[in-house]
Amino acid sequence: MTLLNLLETLLVIGMLGAALFVVRTRDLLAAVVVTAIISLVAAILFYVLQAPDVAITEAAIDAGLTTAIFLVALRKTERYEK
């Protein structure tokens, strides 16, 4: 049981909390922001799991590109789930 494991635990729990937040919220913009957080946290986890290539790709593609595409989709549709 090292400190690093505690940090990992915190990150995984944070990720699950974020996922539950996505389920609950009605504001899709908040959901997209929180999904970006999930990707960012996943990138740290990949980093801790000694997968730097994956961490870079996850950060670049999931956090950057996907968020941008989601924002455009939100702009062209509507922001709140009715």
Partner: protein
């Protein structure tokens, strides 16, 4: 806390949450978000399954790593697979969102219970 439980349980839970979003939510964008979560969960699972305790990343740019790489580095294959899976995931996401934009343009709603042919 047990690391196996942490990573495997965490990715399984994330996967289930994503699937729940896809199956239960009626908002199209929420469904796409659910697909995204499922992707992330599977990727996390793949990387976690390739992790080996006390070993380092498979980038052998230090002389001491070159001696017995297979005793020093983690499994590189899952990383390669996840790279592919992430790229495929973003492709699917882009397609899904462009379809969502089109549906909204045609039907002025994102609620699948109001879309005739999407009620499954």
């Amino acid at each position: 806390m047990n690391q196996a439980l942490l990573y495997f349980g965490g990715s399984a839970a994330l996967f289930l949450i994503g699937l729940y979003l896809v199956l239960v939510k009626t908002n199209l964008i929420k469904i796409v978000l659910g697909l995204d979560l499922m992707e992330t969960a599977v990727n996390l699972f793949i990387v976690a399954s390739g992790y080996i305790k006390d070993r380092t990343a498979p980038i052998l740019n230090r002389p001491d790593l070159l001696a017995h790489p297979s005793q020093r580095a983690v499994d590189p294959v899952p990383h390669a697979l996840v790279l592919t899976a992430i790229v495929i995931g973003v492709a699917v996401m882009a397609m899904a969102l462009s379809i969502v934009i089109r549906i909204y343009e045609k039907r002025q709603t994102l609620d699948i219970s109001k879309l005739r042919s999407l009620r499954w």
